[in-house]
């Protein structure tokens, strides 16, 4: 076999490429109860300005339930529809019954990484019992 530098370089590129490719293709297998436990789902309205993120990280649904303390808890189920890990940030905003935002200061974006094919529940608890409404926002991770 002719082991010229060009052939060695080509082989190394092929090997590296295949390693990178297989590294990115790991996805999650999930097993759950059928039928799943009943959740109180919320009808939602979606505004997509980043269609790419919306396609990759898909919101399956939004469920709400009161906590033992009487405050509202929200769980948003998201699904990474790709086979590669997706990094994004999300944050919740809470509103009272008049639609006024409650406690808008001192919130931080929460970083999240979803493995390929993974579904996860992102949850938040209302900061006060007065909160009746919410929003969740998503943005792609910068780094």
């Amino acid at each position: 076999m002719n082991a010229s530098p060009v052939n060695i370089l080509f082989g190394a590129c092929l090997l590296g490429g295949s390693l990178v490719f297989t590294g990115c293709q790991t996805s999650v297998n999930t097993v759950s109860r059928e039928p799943p436990a009943q959740r109180q789902m919320v009808t939602d309205k979606r505004v997509l300005t980043d269609a790419s993120l919306g396609r990759k990280v898909y919101v399956i649904g939004v469920a709400e339930a009161p906590t033992p303390g009487g405050v509202l808890q929200i769980q948003v189920e998201v699904w990474n529809r790709t086979r590669s890990p997706q990094r994004f940030n999300y944050w919740f905003e809470w509103f009272d019954s008049n639609g006024m935002q409650v406690n808008p200061t001192s919130t931080a974006m929460i970083p999240c990484t979803l493995e390929g094919g993974e579904t996860r529940l992102l949850s938040s608890v209302a900061p006060t019992p007065l909160c009746k409404d919410f929003r969740i926002k998503f943005i792609e991770a910068r780094n």
Binding site: S106, A108, M109, V125, P127, N143
Partner: protein, 189 residues
Amino acid sequence: MKPILFPFFLTLIAALLWAGCATPARRIEAGGRDNITTVGHIDTQDFITAADASVNKLLASGALDRVPKPPAILAVSVIRNETGHQFDTDLLTKKIRVKLNTSGKALTTTTVGLGGKAEDPLAKELGTELPHAPDFTLSGKIIETRAKAGNVRQSTFSFQLSLTDNRGLALWEGEEEITKQGSRATVGF
């Protein structure tokens, strides 16, 4: 142009280019996307996230509702910093206190403190008395775990909190972990 002027113009152009490339000072949103993320230190957004998540879990547990006369009265005990860095643990506890006060589920006392030290000595001197002894005390510690692989460093900060009732029982306990990895600090996350 005289040859003697060339170094002068060269220096001037270099200075202008350097000034143009420097990042000008600006205000950014605390906890927002433009914050600097370090690997080995607790950043502002980490304190906010830890406080948010802890209060979320505490409110969801309903522990604060188990008092005879709501809202619960809470005294803040010691939050120990057991990381290798120096910072004021009020960066965490104040955020927790603000969120708990806003929730209406708990009020914090400023006249009861460890070793008789009040946060507000004047209020204590004036003889302001609580309606009853605090229902709960909040204590905890912050721990750091480090790891390194080649140039990549990793730090995990554990924020551990305990809510103890007046029988001495930990009615609620929470732990938030924030793990950061990288070879250098960066802007944004």
